[in-house]
């Protein structure tokens, strides 16, 4: 926050206009927008307030940025949480996200109409685009002067330096005749004065985006939306774990009970916004038995097919250096030879050593000197990865397990299994990316089967019988309860979710202001 700003505070007995649970991509833009329009807002954040220069590139210590309340992962593709999924602290997952910021493809809003599979969004790209552009403009996104798949698009900042993996992926694309570009990245490449925050420096190519940006280059909530919210009178309360939603006799929400430093507190509110992510938001609703007349809370859990392919090169690659995932191709958004619906984006991958080693360790069974040799190949390794559509499936969902956490609340059980469409996409990508690396002389090519991100679980739509919230994010069951995060996505789409979450957040704020 700007050091000159004094944050307004509210008494717990005040009935504030809105309590927002979660301070990341879903909660922060909405909180800022409500506050800017004169609403009284309290943001409850379970994690602490970090300082940028206090972040460390040490991957073990940087786990402090992850949501560490234990989750149980099941299904035939049990998903790894921790590093890749869900953050904690003021700023939420944007503290550790990779800042890869593609826009959703217009076709992905209408997947069911196009293919008969999946689900349509209740609106199209044209509805979300103005909000997308507002987000990009306010937080700062870098990109190329000419974006091959959308020539009209403009970015305010030049791309950061292309690292080894980005350059290698360009070669791989050229070898197979694919178009490529510098991808949209939510970081700034020159120093600026961010309104309500202060100086943000241009990207220093340190490569530790996932461990927290130390100089403010990466565009998160902590250096954009949250300072704006505070400047307009919102109160941010870190270290507050919300667990109980209170209602009056008519069923409307009256307040939230949360624990801070071991003590229970109660904040009264006229409106409640859940922005805790696709696991914690449905968990809150399920534990409070709320807003679930559709039976859809926790259902339709989706991820992204996030297959990676790594190779070793003769050169000194040093994959920790530079923005990790600069090169993009959108040529596989609807590949002609696809035996699946939807599509995928490809990005280059640099990576920090323990994260890279974890992927290697979990995807192979090598042992002894061969395992040591594989790890010793770190500095010669470059990767590519995809983010691809994942269809909703009835067996993929978030439910409450029989185990309780330290607060006495059931731990969430997340079941995740690939279906035929996800496997077909994985195989297509594994084959293509392997051929790209082979074409430019990579050795020891290794395919890693993995899924990333968390999407769905409180679907938005027009029909109250099959959706949890309406197309603005408002609960069908409780008129002063709103959801603003990726749990309302009807389909996964291929793009990384942060940009759409923020755009929807602004749109939901607009809808709230009109009520």
């Amino acid at each position: 926050m700007n050091s000159t700003t004094v944050m307004k505070t509210f008494a717990e007995t005040n009935i504030v206009d809105a309590v927002v649970i979660g301070s990341g991509a879903g909660g922060a833009p909405l909180a800022a927008e409500l506050a800017r329009n004169g609403k009284t807002v309290v943001v409850l954040e379970a994690g602490p307030a970090f300082t940028a220069m206090g972040h460390t590139p040490d991957e073990i210590a940087a786990r402090e940025l992850y949501w560490l309340h234990e989750r149980l992962s099941a299904g035939t593709n049990p998903q790894a949480f921790g590093g890749n999924n869900s953050g904690t602290g003021l700023g939420g997952s944007l503290l550790h996200y990779g800042a890869f910021m593609p826009r959703m493809d217009a076709r992905d809003f209408h997947l069911h109409t196009e293919t008969g599979k999946g689900v349509d969004w209740p609106f199209g790209l044209d509805e979300l685009l103005p909000y997308i552009e507002r987000v990009e403009s306010f937080i700062g996104v870098s990109g190329p002067t000419h974006y091959p798949w959308d020539p009209e698009r403009r970015y305010a900042y030049a791309p950061p330096l292309a690292n080894s993996a980005a350059l290698k992926m360009r070669e791989g694309c050229d070898a197979l005749g694919l178009r490529h570009a510098d991808g949209p990245a939510a970081l700034i490449t020159r120093d600026i004065e961010q309104p309500h925050f202060g100086t943000r420096h241009g990207c220093a190519n340190c490569g530790a985006c996932h461990q927290g940006c130390r100089n403010g280059a990466k565009s998160g909530a902590d250096n954009t939306w949250l300072p704006m919210a505070v400047a307009y009178g919102a109160e941010l309360r870190p270290g507050c774990f919300a667990h109980t939603i209170e209602r009056d006799s008519s069923g409307r929400v009256t307040g939230v009970v949360y624990r801070q430093n071991g003590v229970e507190h109660r904040q009264k509110c006229a409106t409640l916004v859940l922005a805790a992510g696709a696991v914690e938001t449905p968990r809150l609703l399920l534990t409070n038995d709320l807003a679930n007349s559709s039976g859809q809370v926790g259902q339709n859990y989706m991820t992204h097919v996030s297959t990676q392919v790594w190779g070793e090169f003769d050169e000194d690659i040093r994959p920790n250096r530079g923005y990790p995932s600069l090169t993009i191709t959108e040529d596989m958004m609807r590949p002609k030879d696809a035996d699946f619906v939807g599509g995928y984006l490809i990005q280059s991958l640099g990576m920090m050593p323990a994260t890279w080693g974890q992927n290697l360790a979990r995807s192979t069974t090598t042992r002894g000197p061969a395992f040591a040799r594989a790890l010793a190949g770190y500095n010669r390794s470059a990767g590519m990865g995809i983010n691809g559509e994942c269809l909703p499936r009835p067996e993929n969902r978030v439910t409450l397990s029989n185990e309780k956490d330290a607060f006495g609340i059931p731990k969430p059980l997340i079941e995740h299994s690939y279906g035929p469409n996800e496997w077909a996409m994985h195989n297509h990508a594994a084959n293509l990316l392997s051929r790209m690396w082979e074409a430019i002389g990579a050795k020891d090519i290794r395919v890693i089967d993995r899924a990333a991100h968390m999407i769905g679980t409180c679907r938005m739509g027009t029909d109250a019988g099959s959706n949890v919230v309406n197309p603005e994010g408002r609960s069908f069951d409780i008129d002063n309860l709103w959801i603003s995060d990726h749990s309302i996505f009807p389909s996964a789409a291929a793009a990384n979710p942060a940009l759409a979450i923020m755009a929807l957040s602004l749109r939901t704020a607009d809808a709230m202001l009109k009520t």
Binding site: A204, C206, R214, I317, P353, G368
Partner: protein
């Protein structure tokens, strides 16, 4: 417990000891009793008490990356803390399970071609301690909580060793230890009884084991130095330098060169 692996390890022996002796045991020198109160268990009969050798030798040469001004003070403290073993061992596991872990690590991931001779990064102790610390926020639903799963998995390996070979896991020759690990990783080893893990559970846990080992290794400053990894050197506290060169074959002067025999190929091209 009848064996202390460290008592016959290279670390306990003088640096001048011939390598073949050290290699005979194929052990990287993890001491399961260090700082556990059994202070004299390494003492040779020929040594008088006043000449006792230290059980856990001081760390080898301090990795140069720790003195770089491209390192923040916080990161330096974090990395430096890994140079010494946790004070209490074992902290999480039983002595029996700890000894199994100690005996499997050098078979799973030998570090003698990565680290300088005589370097002990205290993997067993660090992993055992990590199991009692904050975890990474999730676990496989078909495994019990981490500390319990590790205990059960390691005892499963010990029981299977006894059933198949008539001796405990720690007494098996390295080749046989490796065979059991391979069977575990490929879904062929497990026990259907209380306090042990079944075949599918052991295969799941094998991934957790491998991941934990890699976390421990790749986050160690001695390993980063030996492999020439500059990931900790993102920038100091007063000047946040980052990197100015990020393309292939462009190591900057402050970045370490690989010294490990396994990793020198790239640097030798310069």
């Amino acid at each position: 417990m009848s064996v202390c692996p460290a008592a016959r390890s290279k670390n306990w022996l003088p640096e001048s000891r011939p390598a073949p002796y050290r290699k005979r045991f194929g052990h990287a020198g993890y001491c399961i009793f260090a700082a556990s109160g059994r202070r004299n268990h390494h003492r040779r009969r020929t040594l008088k008490p006043k000449h006792r050798r230290p059980q856990c030798p001081p760390p080898p040469d301090r990795p140069e990356i720790l003195d770089s001004d491209h390192l923040s003070a916080r990161t330096r403290d974090i990395l430096t803390s890994r140079l010494s073993a946790p004070e209490t061992q074992p902290r999480t596991l039983s002595l029996q399970a700890y000894a199994v872990l100690d005996a499997l690590l050098p078979v799973l991931l030998p570090l003698d071609e990565i680290l300088p001779p005589g370097t002990d990064i205290n993997m067993t102790a660090r992993i055992d301690a990590a199991l009692s610390g904050p975890r990474d926020g999730w676990r496989f639903a078909d495994l019990p909580p981490d500390a319990e799963a590790w205990e059960a998995a390691l005892l499963t390996l010990d029981d299977v060793a006894a059933e198949q070979h008539g001796i405990r896991f720690i007494h098996l020759a390295p080749e046989l230890r490796g065979t059991l690990l391979d069977a575990m990783m490929t879904g062929q080893l497990g026990l259907d009884r209380d306090g042990r893990l079944s075949i599918p559970q052991m295969a799941r846990w094998a991934g957790d084991l491998r991941g934990e080992v890699v976390d421990c290794v790749m986050s160690d400053p001695r390993v980063q130095q030996a492999l020439g990894i500059s990931s900790s050197l993102t920038g100091g506290d007063t000047v946040f330098q980052g990197f100015t060169e990020v393309g292939p074959d462009s190591r900057e002067d402050f970045e370490p060169k690989a010294t490990a025999p396994l990793a020198q190929m790239a640097d030798s091209r310069e």
